[in-house]
């Protein structure tokens, strides 16, 4: 594939990143998607909208999140200089809130009055319930029955925030089915409802819009590293975990045209790619169409979707954002994987050496950093996105380590 002049001008008008993306939705939703697209176009060009988003980022989310030099992990690994982008310090404990602030303000501008969302681990559900409480909108969150059982604290958190959590009993009863159910709600309640998608997937304009709202992560890293390491100093390597891929898109996007910056997305390798029990859509899937976009999917030879598996509920999705699929085929970003047990080890190492409990999602990114840092020189700068905090995961970690709480 030829290198394009820029990797930052996607998607095209029809929502495509190369061959990926698009608008594969039922006719009932098509007018809504088009309305959303034009509303977002207008908002994106409106400085007042940008100011409003920035104000909530600063005063409500607590941005900018720090860029922290990992001062014990770095010497322990004995190679590259490691920085943590600390998006786990955001209000609600993950990067998800960045996107939710942007979309709720857009929904308000559009005159919508009811918000629906899907959630897997519950982080996006909590972030959505939070911004709905903030703005005063009713909120319905669809969550698979299986996920509800393993993420009880987040379920209760959403309820405290005033959201209605609807258990999804169809299909495999996890994130992909929650997304199906949210789409079914939207197709039924077309007049007043805004569907607040939590990742860089779904029909156009969602992948673009969510990426734009998350790009604050990479924009901050550029400024912060310049302050810490000298004017204009770029990171050498960026590392982020990938489920749908929103935190990774947010970190990578501002640097896509900085050729000297290497980017690595870490998929969930589950019990190992060879076992078939994983969530590595790019490493082990093939292109298909689901949830409104063409992207890499875990599917069988007949085009039926295969359930993903990961110790991290937030990475447990059989697809990936279409822009990642395109960056993968273009070779601009490398996509690797880390297994459940590698993520668990990284989780513990980070807790013990840095006093930070990362979520199991970024623990996958850390696992890969642990692998490559020792092989790199000490002037090589790695920035890894710690996109969520691990408090929500302590029961899962305890269980995996054979500890009963």
């Amino acid at each position: 594939m030829n290198h394009p002049d820029t990797y930052r001008d996607g998607p095209d008008e029809t929502g495509h990143f190369g061959n990926f993306g698009g608008r594969f939705v039922a006719e009932t939703l098509m007018p809504l998607i088009l309305e959303l697209g034009s509303a977002y176009r207008v908002a994106k060009e409106d400085p007042i909208f940008a100011q409003e988003v920035a104000r909530y980022f600063k005063n409500y989310v607590g941005r900018p999140s720090p860029l922290y030099f990992a001062e014990r992990l770095t010497p322990q690994l004995g190679g590259a200089k490691i920085y943590f982008k600390r998006d786990e310090l955001n209000h609600t404990g993950a990067h998800k809130i960045n996107n939710c602030i942007g979309q709720i303000l857009l929904a308000k501008r559009m005159g919508k009055s009811r918000i629906i969302a899907e959630t897997g681990a519950g982080q996006h559900g909590v972030a959505t319930a939070t911004v709905c409480a903030l703005i005063g909108f009713p909120c319905v969150v669809y969550m698979g029955e299986v996920d509800i059982a393993r993420q009880q604290p987040n379920v209760f958190r959403m309820k405290l925030l005033g959201a209605e959590v609807v258990p999804v009993t169809s299909g495999a009863r996890t994130l992909k089915d929650a997304m199906n159910e949210a789409l079914r709600d939207w197709v039924t309640n077309v007049e007043d409802t805004y569907y607040l998608i939590g990742t860089v997937a779904g029909p156009h304009p969602y992948p673009e819009m969510v990426r734009d709202f998350q790009s604050v992560i990479g924009d901050e890293v550029r400024r912060q590293l310049s302050d810490l390491e000298g004017k204009g100093r770029l990171p050498d390597t960026l590392v982020a975990c990938i489920g749908g891929g929103s935190n990774a898109m947010g970190l990578f996007y501002p640097f896509l045209d900085d050729e000297e910056v290497t980017m690595i997305g870490v998929e969930a390798g589950g019990e190992g790619i060879g076992t078939g029990r994983h969530a590595a859509s790019l490493n082990a899937g093939r292109p298909g169409v689901l949830h409104g976009n063409r992207t890499y999917l875990l599917q069988d030879s007949d085009g039926q979707i295969i359930e993903a598996h990961s110790i991290s509920a937030g990475l447990d999705y059989p697809g990936i954002g279409p822009e990642h699929a395109w960056l993968h085929e273009a070779g601009r970003v490398q996509y690797v994987s880390a297994t459940d047990s590698e993520a668990l080890e990284a989780f513990q190492l980070c807790a013990q050496l840095e006093g930070i409990l990362p979520a199991l999602e970024p623990a996958h990114a850390l696992a890969y950093v642990i692998k490559i840092a020792p092989t790199l020189p000490s002037d090589h700068i790695i920035v890894v996105n710690i996109c969520g905090r691990g408090d929500k995961d302590i029961f899962i970690v305890a269980d995996a380590l054979g500890v009963s709480l």
Binding site: R23, F24, E27, T28, L29, N180, V187, T188, V289, Q304
Partner: protein
């Protein structure tokens, strides 16, 4: 605008005959291979004699985003029983061994077709005896994917119009439509809720001012009375979830699911056939 003539004339003949008889048609949706391949084939083969004028055959998919609980469950039941895309095309082939007239429309989602390969799928579907396709997650904005190749290959591409398809958008929806126009009478998923007769009447009249294609109305039609009410205005009534529910109920009650589906089909067909007589009398 596509000018390639369809390779099969079954659908056109069907609507011509219905027109000559002065009645609307009954379009029955069943999921291919539900509850298992053998039973599913028997249901399909029995539908024309029970009064179905057109058969919509659902291609099972794990993630049917526009379907309600009944059709979701039917798809998973069929997949669990081993249904594949090849199996679905084989069913059509077997049906065509006995029946050369009843139009067959395959209905479903894009991924299983995309995975099969668009060109192979179109060639195999035509060869098996399929007349048209309905793909729920392919709006006109994605016509290059399957709609245009299908039309060029000589298959009908049946388009859905919905209450959210306004007058400005209708021409876009109709641009490459063929066979008939399927009006989804409610905003929502299959098998849940029904539109009022007045709303359907005014919607069908609005559609007629935009197209000469026959208009079928579906979503939420469960009883012979409802089917009859639709049949007074539209060219065909589509029933899906209610028939699929008969499979579920038949199994639960220990009855033969084939007979359960066909018996409701007979009642629905009566409702449709008598609809306009009732208006006249």
């Amino acid at each position: 605008m596509i000018t390639v003539a369809p390779k099969t004339a079954r659908l056109e003949k069907c609507f011509e005959n219905l027109h000559a008889q002065g009645r609307a048609g009954l379009i029955t949706f069943v999921t291919a291979g539900d509850p298992n391949p053998q039973c599913g084939l028997e249901i399909m083969k029995g539908l024309p004699d029970a009064g179905a004028d057109v058969i919509e055959l659902g291609m099972p998919f794990t993630d049917p985003m526009a379907d309600g609980p009944s059709i979701q469950a039917a798809g998973l039941r069929a997949l669990d029983a081993g249904q594949t895309m090849r199996g679905t095309l084989d069913m059509v082939r077997s049906f065509r061994g006995d029946n050369q007239t009843t139009p067959i429309i395959l209905m479903g989602y894009y991924n299983p077709i995309y995975s099969y390969g668009v060109n192979s799928f179109l060639a195999d579907a035509l060869e098996a005896g399929v007349d048209g396709i309905i793909v729920v997650d392919l709006p006109p904005e994605e016509d290059n994917e399957l709609c245009l190749p299908a039309r060029i290959a000589g298959l009908h591409f049946i388009r859905l119009a919905t209450p959210t398809t306004d007058d400005a958008r209708l021409p876009i929806v109709l641009r490459n439509a063929s066979g008939f126009l399927y009006y989804v009478s409610i905003t929502g998923i299959t098998g849940v809720g029904a539109a009022g007769a007045d709303a359907v009447t005014s919607a069908v009249r609005r559609l007629r001012s935009h197209t000469d294609l026959p208009i079928a109305v579906g979503f939420g039609i469960r009883t012979p009375e409802q089917a009859g009410s639709i049949a007074r205005e539209a060219d065909a009534a589509v029933v899906g979830s209610a028939l699929v529910d008969q499979v579920t109920k038949g199994i639960a009650d220990g009855r033969d699911p084939v007979e359960a589906v066909l018996s409701l089909t007979r009642e629905l067909a009566d409702g449709v056939r008598q609809a306009r007589n009732r208006v006249l009398s």
